[in-house]
């Protein structure tokens, strides 16, 4: 019963992972990534990592992907236009890598690993979270305190970069290509030639 569940979750994970990469519109690939994270949370629970599974849904599927959605909405992205010579080259890389994936998967699934099957009984000290908590705050104290510094740096960095130089209007790039903007809007929309980017907009 458990292996069947594992295979189900893995298929869901790999298919939605592929769809993230292949789909045209970024919002749809973001939603496939959310599905992939939930499938991954299911796999973690099967591997006796319940707390990590729940944290995965809360942090990745619930917080990081919301940020991705907000940024995609902020950037007002339509579909990704496919044009230019790079298409041919990219298709080639895609196929080679695809073959690599299939070969790798088959080889690993068939391969015998030295480690035995995973255990069935729950980890020793009571609930998973309790044991994790004790371990995390005793042996892994140092990385835990460093993580708070990493978060602090990220907070300050994000605020500085995004609020950044809004007071000083950024110098307009002489040849800023409008093609980019044109590519962003769908062909159907008419747009009056925009003023060169870099006006003091918020």
């Amino acid at each position: 019963m458990i292996p069947a569940l594992f295979i189900g979750f893995s298929l869901l994970l790999l298919v939605s992972g592929l769809m993230v990469v292949l789909h045209k519109s970024p919002v749809t690939s973001a939603m496939f990534l959310v599905v992939a994270f939930c499938a991954l949370a299911g796999i973690y629970i099967l591997l006796h990592a319940e707390f990590i599974g729940m944290v995965q849904v809360i942090v990745y599927a619930g917080a990081i992907m919301v940020l991705f959605l907000f940024v995609i909405m902020y950037l007002n992205l339509g579909h990704d236009p496919e044009h230019g010579a790079t298409i041919l080259l990219r298709r080639l890389i895609g196929w080679i890598a695809g073959a690599l994936v299939v070969l790798q998967g088959a080889m690993l699934f068939a391969g015998r690993w030295a480690l035995g099957p995973t255990s069935t009984e729950a980890p020793p000290l009571g609930g998973n979270t309790q044991a994790l908590g004790q371990l995390l705050y005793s042996r892994f104290l140092f990385p835990f305190e460093i993580t708070s510094l990493v978060l602090l740096v990220a907070m300050v960095g994000a605020i500085v970069i995004s609020k950044g130089r809004s007071t000083r209007t950024p110098d307009p790039i002489p040849h800023a290509p409008h093609a980019g903007l044109q590519a962003v809007l769908r062909p159907g929309d008419t747009v009056t030639p925009p003023t060169p980017p870099g006006g003091g907009e918020a």
């Binding site: 707390f51 940020l67 907000f70 902020y74 004790q134 705050y137 907070m155 994000a158």
Partner: protein, 120 residues
């Protein structure tokens, strides 16, 4: 491991219920669409321009700060559950952790990153 089975079944039953409801309503619903009905709703006025405008930067900032403080909350859960065995060391560790993030929070307040009506 067995107690997670009902959660999975609940997920499947929930999705099934939502799917069946939407599916049934697809068949029953009368379809007399016209160009007027299909246009986005603008309180009866003729829709102007595309609906995909630019969105302010503040929503981005709220989401970023949400992630960082969410990580802090997630670190608090195992600490809270295992607090009785950790004792004084656990308390001191967490006070340090929260103090560092408090510095970030004060920076956030000082820079008025989350003021909605301040013209940024």
């Amino acid at each position: 491991m067995r107690e997670y089975l009902p959660v999975l079944m609940f997920i499947i039953v929930g999705i099934g219920f939502a799917g069946v409801t939407l599916g049934v309503s697809q068949f029953i619903v009368p379809r007399r669409s016209s160009a007027k009905k299909m246009a986005p709703y603008e309180c009866g006025v003729e829709p102007v321009g595309t609906a995909r405008q630019r969105v302010e930067i503040k929503f981005y900032l709220v989401a970023v700060l949400f992630i960082l403080f969410d990580i802090e909350a997630v670190f608090l859960y195992p600490w809270a559950v295992a607090f009785r065995r950790l004792g004084l060391y656990g308390l001191i560790e967490m006070v340090l952790f929260v103090a560092v993030l408090l510095v970030g929070y004060l920076y956030l307040l000082q820079k008025k990153a989350l003021d909605w009506n301040s013209p940024s």
